[in-house]
């Protein structure tokens, strides 16, 4: 009974992922695409939650959904041009265009509510986990990351460093050359 319910929830969530991912790549408007991308991330985190990896689910929301929102806010802030951009934003956030996104995310929300409060509590601890997978705690992840997989942490740190250096160098060099040409013109 419980398994059946979890399976249904899983299938609905997976369908939401597919639909919103398709909408992400077909949307002509960047803002709409971002909105659908956030929904995709939320749905993926719900699947992590169903599988018992609640930490991964939280990370998914914090890093992906959160970072995309922050990026979005930054871009709108930087490109803000007073009344003109306000009108543009009104055009972007027309309610009728965001109705699909609202519908999909409310479905995810109801699923979550359903799992948290409405599932029968008789099957003890493993209430919201799929069969045969234990709940993975933060402590487990920590002991793994600082135990056998500690080198991976170092490697990923190096990877981020190299990406940072690359980004700084590439974004810096055209500016200096522009300044040089400006100085030449003067």
């Amino acid at each position: 009974m419980l398994d059946n319910m979890l399976n249904t929830i899983f299938i609905i969530t997976a369908a939401i992922i597919l639909i919103s991912a398709l909408l992400t790549i077909t949307a002509h408007n960047v803002v709409h695409a971002l909105l659908y991308l956030v929904i995709t991330m939320l749905a993926v985190s719900l699947i992590f939650f169903i599988l018992g990896a609640s930490f991964a689910a939280a990370l998914q929301i914090i890093i992906y959904a959160g970072a995309i929102m922050v990026l979005f806010i930054f871009v709108t802030m930087m490109l803000h041009q007073g009344e003109k951009s306000l009108a543009q934003e009104r055009h972007l956030f027309h309610f009728s265009t965001s109705i699909t996104a609202l519908f999909l995310s409310s479905m995810l929300f109801f699923e979550l509510i359903f799992m948290l409060f409405l599932t029968p509590t008789d099957s003890a601890n493993s209430r919201v986990t799929a069969p045969s997978s234990a709940i993975i705690t933060v402590k487990d992840i920590g002991t793994q990351l600082y135990g056998p997989y500690s080198l991976l942490v170092v490697i990923s740190a190096l990877m981020l460093l190299s990406a940072l250096i690359t980004a700084i160098h590439i974004s810096k060099s055209p500016v200096t050359s522009e300044i040089k040409t400006k100085a030449d013109n003067l």
Binding site: I155, M159, S162, I170
Partner: protein, 475 residues
């Protein structure tokens, strides 16, 4: 910490020292010396570890073979490094970051060749490709370099996505990301065989992008032309070596040759790469594009080694011979290619075949070196390239792979044509003497040329010492 990690650790310390030095004072020569010192120390440590390495843990496997590949990788990177200072002086950019990214790519390659786990393989791959994006788009205002950087960024992201998907499907079947658990166990078959074959094809697609084998080869010529010369050399050697070693390990450890369709795909890709690579090179005027097409063809030849893998215990002796073939071919091809690229670095103004005209009459040493390297790439006797091809043909004959063997022979003949065209171009009377006057023919580059010649011709005439060494480690 395990003593086997020291080479990568030394390189990491070198990179971090350059980073600290950048905080205080920018100095090109200091960065050059720090990176060189760390490469040299890493090389020495790796040489010392050659006889001691035999451990494996969750993430890495360190035995005589991976240690040999790491040694080869460090030697190739060291030869490229030797040319770096003079080349970087000519570009109009901040130079110190290049050494940082250079060391990071090397670390990524080292991680990849000895990885024993999809996580370490993937992180090493990403470390390498992210640093490569920086190296390719290093000369900022150059339109072509930026275009090449964007191309590499998108394609390597795509390749990584394919590899991740394949790894995820394999994880579903085997319940572990470790390479040593990839052995198919028929008793607990969760997924149907077609799903596993799909996963294998996904991983192949990703790695074929890195190796620029035929269906995924379209980027390579633009990248070689657009990227800075040293980066092109690194792409042609380091990145391809690491990707090929991973491919070989995966096919060997996962027993992927048990699926007939995988064998078919590999032989089709091999034959197509040989022919298309050589045909595209046939009428190519640009030297770097020519090298790009020749590298497609050469990795097509190397794919034959994967077709030879046979895990029958009875044929174990031939298994060891296949490993020898792989290592010998890699050594021969990489050293020759590094030689060709270091010659190109000494000829900064020369881009096309016509520019080469008359090189022989003005700079005979450089011209003769390039001539012999081209002969080695074509596989003419008394060079290292001939011995490598000889090994490959022997191995293919012993397992009676007549189809790919005939493709190898036919496409080698086509390839010979454009290698000889380069030599013919050098013997022509010069059209424009000015370009040839600017060639840097200092003592250091002369000694490097002699070293490369010594390697290519010396091992070509007396291959026994090299082959005995390889026999030892792969036996």
């Amino acid at each position: 910490m395990n003593v086997n990690y020291y080479p990568a650790f030394i390189l990491m310390c070198g990179a971090l020292m350059i980073l600290i030095q950048l905080c205080f004072k920018r100095s090109h020569i200091t960065s050059y010396l720090i990176s060189g010192l760390s490469l040299f120390l890493a090389l020495l440590t790796q040489l010392f570890l050659q006889n001691h390495a035999d451990t494996s843990d969750v993430l890495f496997v360190l035995n005589a073979q991976t240690s040999f590949v790491s040694l080869l990788l460090l030697m190739v990177v060291g030869l490229i490094w030797a040319q770096l200072y003079h080349w970087l002086k000519t570009i109009n950019e901040q130079k110190e970051e290049y050494y940082l990214l250079f060391l990071f790519t090397t670390i990524g390659g080292l991680i990849m060749v000895s990885s024993n786990h999809f996580a370490s393989f993937f992180l090493g791959l990403e470390l390498m490709s992210l640093s490569f994006i920086g190296l390719i788009a290093y000369c900022g205002p150059d339109q072509k370099a930026q275009e090449a950087g964007i191309k590499y960024l998108i394609l390597s992201a795509l390749a990584s996505a394919f590899i991740l998907m394949g790894a995820a499907i394999l994880y579903l079947q085997f319940g572990s990301l470790s390479f040593s658990n990839l052995m198919p166990n028929t008793s607990s078959q969760i997924l149907p065989p077609w799903a596993i074959i799909t996963a294998i094809i996904f991983i192949f697609t990703g790695l074929f992008f890195k190796l620029s084998l035929v269906p995924c080869h379209l980027w390579v010529a633009d990248l070689f032309e657009g990227a800075p010369l040293v980066t092109a050399a690194m792409l042609a050697t380091l990145s391809k070596l690491a990707a090929f070693i991973i491919l070989w390990r995966l096919v060997t450890l996962g027993h992927w040759q048990q699926y007939p369709i995988i064998i078919d795909i590999l032989s089709m890709v091999a034959i197509a790469s040989m022919f298309i690579g050589n045909f595209l090179g046939l009428l190519q005027k640009n030297l770097l594009r020519l090298m790009a097409y020749s590298s497609i063809a050469h990795f097509g030849y190397l794919l034959i080694v994967l077709l030879l893998i046979n895990n029958n215990a009875i044929e174990f002796s031939s298994q060891s011979f296949n490993t020898q073939t792989l290592f010998f071919y890699l050594v021969a091809y990489l050293f020759t290619l590094v030689g060709v690229f270091s010659i190109f670095m000494q000829l900064p103004k020369i881009k096309t075949l016509d520019d080469l005209a008359g090189l022989f009459w003005h700079h005979p040493v450089i011209a003769i070196t390039l001539m012999l390297l081209m002969l080695s790439l074509a596989g003419i006797p008394l060079t290292l390239g001939f011995m490598a091809k000889f090994y490959l043909v022997m191995a293919a004959v012993s397992q009676q792979l007549w189809l790919v063997l005939s493709a190898l022979v036919l496409s080698s003949i086509i390839g010979l044509f454009y290698y000889l065209r380069v030599i013919m171009a050098m013997l022509k009377t010069p059209a424009d003497e000015l370009k040839l006057k600017e060639i840097n023919s200092s003592g250091s580059s002369l000694s490097l040329n002699i070293l490369i010649l010594f390697l290519v011709i010396g091992f070509g005439v007396f291959p026994s010492s090299l082959s005995q060494f390889i026999q030892q480690i792969s036996g």
